[in-house]
């Protein structure tokens, strides 16, 4: 694509905007000087520089916050605490040890990061809303400590009169110094989010369940990003102390944490520099309207935030995107890609392509007949109800094993037990000779157990290609690496797989926009990519149209059979069960009622009874005829 056209895409526009922001930031001092000569009464160059410095620091603070909010999906109220801790580190070292501010600056991320590690560990004991409230409590505790510990922190007076090193007395030099530090930090964070580590964060934001299922220990990553985020917030706070020459408790009050949130919202949480843009806008607004009319400024800011939340929660960035799409539709031109896929994937499946990537195993390899999964006496009760009661079954390698049973038979609970979602009360699960009883979901994927969920579970806002790539990164343990570019790894391998399951053309589409059948195909691709040996499917065709169902059956028959993948699935649709399964296990009220070939099960009167009740089994012969 020619360079100029490339710039017109949303991705391109973002780079342009980012570039502009950077250029303005670089050239602010001469710009300010210029503006002062043109409008000497309204604009003061020094003041503009100070504003610029403040905006830079706020930008760093907000971008660090966005690591948690935009990239990992965590809402924290404690971010002001780490900012304050950074400021106090510089201030206290200056006041008590008479150190210059520079060593304080270097130490601030360490101190803030350490506090972040400890408080993050505490906060992550709780989930979602409670996590947020816990961060609020922690922030307030920090505030109270700073406020009350007069002898150490100067109490509500704070610490003033920090004097910077001489070279920082010039506003221009100070501006460039702060700019340099901020740039280094931003660059570091940027490399981090592009790396496989960042890919893991995105996966967690998009779908925690699925992230765990592809092998990520979610809590560990959340703690890591919490700590990193806190460390950079500390740097921002330290820079604040350096240019504002003071530190005070109010910095850590819980409502101050709203500032990075607001700035992120204004600029957009979906992009890396969005919050920086928001910080610039916010600083500008605060120092124009906010200076003369502080009360009105609050109202205007509140109204803007309200507007953004109600209309375009993705921030100004997404609002612009929305406007552009609207304009494109009005003028009749088609958007860059079709919005929704049309369920074509299953149509385009070319089994031979899959075989090319994963060559068919020989007959010997395929049904070695060995027991891949052995379940012994598995039990789980909920309150007074025994949902699963002493269930035992063997799944042989290469087999397609169905589990059926009327409602309440315990099929879903059994599946949840097998995938580590819940722990059994009794019994054993042995996979490939290894006891995996009670193991957590993210550990199971390493063994080669893959699960497709009842409600399709993919990473909705990531592209189809990223879904596959990031799953591979997670599964192969690459996500602990905070360097390298995630989007470049395993690209070719992933594209091959996508072509094979028919999703090739859709690789750049957001996965959430795929049709239901296409999402299933994507899940299958992920399982193939992870080298899954046993695939657990929970009602795989629920919600599919009859056509999609038919194609899904063909896909499964073709791929799974040739690959020697072992399949354990539960279904209500009997056509599927009898079309695919080699072995059928029938569950009833938590126990195994019968097991055998499909034909044996169908002609088993007990099985008929639990489904049909005690009715006269008239005309069963015509049933066979009806099936033909």
């Amino acid at each position: 694509m020619p360079a100029l056209t490339r710039l017109r895409t949303p991705e391109g526009m973002r780079w342009v905007a980012a570039g502009l922001l950077v250029v303005v930031a670089f050239t602010l001092p001469p710009l300010a000087g210029l503006l002062e000569t043109i409008l000497p009464d309204t604009i003061s160059a020094n003041f503009t520089l100070i504003l610029g410095t403040s905006a830079l620091v706020l930008a760093l603070w907000s971008v660090s916050y966005n690591l948690m909010l935009g990239y990992t999906g965590m809402v924290s109220f404690a971010h002001a605490a780490y900012y304050g801790i950074g400021a106090y580190t510089v201030a206290l070292l200056y006041q008590d040890l008479h150190w210059s501010v520079l060593p304080g600056l270097v130490l601030s991320p360490l101190v803030a990061g350490l506090v972040g590690l400890v408080t993050g560990f505490i906060s992550l004991r709780a989930v979602r809303l409670y996590f947020s409230l816990l961060t609020l409590a922690i922030s307030q505790v920090c505030f109270v400590i700073a406020f009350e510990w007069y002898s150490f922190t100067g109490g509500d007076n704070g610490i003033h009169g920090i004097s910077p090193p001489d070279f920082l007395l010039n506003p221009t030099v100070q501006y460039y110094f702060v700019g340099a530090v901020v740039s280094v930090c931003l660059l570091t964070m940027f490399l981090l989010v592009r790396s496989p580590f960042g890919a893991a964060l995105l996966a967690i934001r998009e779908n925690r369940l699925r992230a765990a299922a592809v092998g990520l220990n979610v809590k560990r990553y959340e703690l890591a990003v919490f700590t990193v985020s806190a460390a950079f917030a500390g740097v921002a706070g330290a820079l604040f102390a350096i240019y504002d020459l003071q530190a005070f408790p109010q910095l850590m009050y819980w409502t101050e944490s709203a500032h990075p949130v607001v700035m992120t919202l204004l600029g957009g949480s979906g992009t890396f520099l969005g919050p920086a843009l928001g910080a610039a806008v916010y600083t500008g607004l605060q120092n124009s309207i906010g200076r003369t009319f502080p009360a009105q400024f609050d109202i205007v800011l509140g109204a803007i935030v309200l507007g953004v939340v109600l209309v375009a929660p993705g921030g100004l960035g997404s609002a612009l995107d929305g406007i552009r799409r609207l304009a494109a539709r009005r003028s009749g031109s088609r958007g860059p890609a079709k919005q929704d896929s049309e369920g074509d994937a299953l149509v385009r499946i070319d089994v031979s392509k899959i075989l090319a990537i994963r060559p068919a195993k020989s007959q010997a390899e395929r049904s070695s007949g060995g027991t891949l999964l052995r379940v012994e006496g598995l039990s789980k009760r909920f309150g007074g109800l025994k949902a699963v009661d002493g269930v035992s079954l063997d799944v042989l390698e290469g087999r397609r094993h169905a589990v059926i049973g009327p409602n309440g038979a315990g099929k879903s609970t059994l599946f949840n037990l097998l995938t580590g979602q819940i722990r059994p009360d009794a019994g054993k699960v042995v996979f490939g000779g290894v006891d995996i009883t009670g193991r957590r979901p993210h550990q199971l994927s390493r063994f080669g157990i893959g699960r497709a969920f009842q409600i399709t579970n993919i990473f909705p806002k990531l592209t189809v290609l990223q879904n596959l790539q990031y799953s591979m990164l997670a599964h192969r343990g690459d996500t602990v690496r905070p360097f390298g570019i995630a989007d470049r790894r395993y690209r070719d391998e992933a594209m091959q797989l996508l072509e094979a399951v028919g999703l090739g053309p859709a690789f750049a589409l957001q996965a959430g926009l795929l049709s239901h059948g296409d999402q299933r195909a994507l899940e299958l691709a992920i399982s193939l990519a992870l080298g899954t040996r046993l695939l657990l499917l929970d009602e795989p065709t629920a919600g599919m149209s009859p056509y999609e169902t038919k194609r899904a059956m063909e896909l499964v028959n073709g791929v799974v059979a040739q690959q020697g993948l072992t399949l354990l699935f539960c279904e209500h649709d009997m056509d599927i069960v009898f079309g695919i399964a080699d072995v059928v296990t029938v569950m009833h009220q938590g126990r195994v009622l019968a097991e055998g070939t499909p034909e044996a099960i169908r002609s088993n009167p007990e099985v008929q009874r639990i489904y049909l009740g005690d009715v006269e089994l008239d005309a069963p012969q015509t049933e066979a005829g009806a099936r033909a």
Binding site: L69, V75, I122, R125, A126, R128, L129, Y130, S132, L133, L134, L136, A137, I138, Q140, V141, V144, I145, F147, E148, W149, Y253, W254, T255, A258, V261, L265, P294, A295, Q296, F297, D298, I299, V300, L301, G302, A303, I304, V305, L306, V309, L310, P313
Partner: protein
């Protein structure tokens, strides 16, 4: 510790708890039925306090002014609450908590600015009406009569809330909405309108707190966030969505604060107690003392 010091500490804690109970019960009620955390709850409290001081100072008649404020402020604030629910919250039900937090936080900003413009940014204080001023002597201390009134008022409101929830049709519908709003919808009750009503009640409770606290403490521009964070702590400790939880939680917080102030070693950190307790509850039993585990 002498008997009268103990009595004083307990009474101080109870009167502190009274206003907090009013505010926290409103927050908790709204969360229980609507599953929304209203960050602007403290702002409604503050608006009512400013309205009260404005009326009393304007009329220069503490008794009549106070009575008028007791009627006008909650009514005005309830109306504001209705507007908030209809115009803002309705669009956000069922969406991520963050959006609800942000939207209601935005309202906090609007209210803070609005109060500054309408009422000015200086602190105000008013004295209690004649009837309720003065004090009762307890040993070597004198305990303000008005604080007794606060406790009395809180008890009355608690009783009224109980009656509302358990003896009226509206209360029955509210309890049903907390349990299963979908089923309530299918049973022919206009749940959308019910939500608006509940929000108005919550706002009214916050407002009542604001009116009653005005003769007791200075009315400042920071009172919205201070009371909100205390209300959060109470609701977490007692259990979001539970009336009993708000009551007990307020008692705990009020008494902990006043006993904390009592001892010189702990007086500085008494403020932090509540948050440490809040953190501990969130780690061990996030749904609080009287809440239900599935309620988020």
């Amino acid at each position: 510790m002498s008997g009268s010091t103990l009595a004083l500490t307990v009474l101080a804690g109870l009167s502190e708890a009274s206003v907090l109970f009013l505010v926290a019960s409103g927050l908790s009620l709204v969360f229980g039925a609507l599953r929304v955390i209203n960050m602007a709850h403290g702002s409604l409290y503050m608006v009512a306090a400013f309205i009260t001081t404005a009326i009393v100072q304007f009329l220069a008649q503490p008794a009549i002014g106070f009575l008028l404020a007791l009627v006008i402020a909650p009514a005005v604030v309830a109306l504001i609450g209705a507007l908030i629910e209809v115009l803002v919250l309705r669009r956000l039900y069922g969406r991520e908590h963050l959006l609800q937090l942000l939207a209601t936080f935005a309202l906090t900003l609007v209210f803070a600015g609005g109060v500054r413009i309408i009422f000015g940014s200086y602190n105000r204080s008013i004295r209690p009406p004649e009837l309720l001023s003065g004090g009762v002597s307890l040993g070597s201390f004198i305990f303000p009569t008005y604080k007794f009134f606060l406790m009395f008022a809180a008890l009355v409101v608690a009783a009224a809330l109980y009656v509302l929830l358990y003896r009226t049709t509206l209360g029955r519908n509210i309890r049903a909405a907390v349990a299963d709003p979908e089923l309530l919808n299918a049973s022919g009750v206009n749940v959308a309108r019910l939500f608006t009503t509940v929000f108005m009640i919550g706002a009214g409770l916050a407002a009542l707190g604001g009116v009653l606290v005005s003769p007791d403490q200075a009315v400042t521009g920071g009172m919205d966030t201070d009371v909100l964070v205390a209300a959060f702590a109470i609701s977490v400790i007692g259990g979001l969505g539970s009336l009993m939880g708000s009551f007990v939680g307020a008692l705990i917080v009020g008494l902990a604060t006043s006993f904390g102030i009592l001892f010189p070693q702990t007086s500085r950190w008494s403020l932090a107690f509540i948050f440490v307790l809040m953190a501990v509850v969130l780690m061990l039993r996030p749904w609080g003392l009287f809440g239900r585990p599935e309620a988020t």
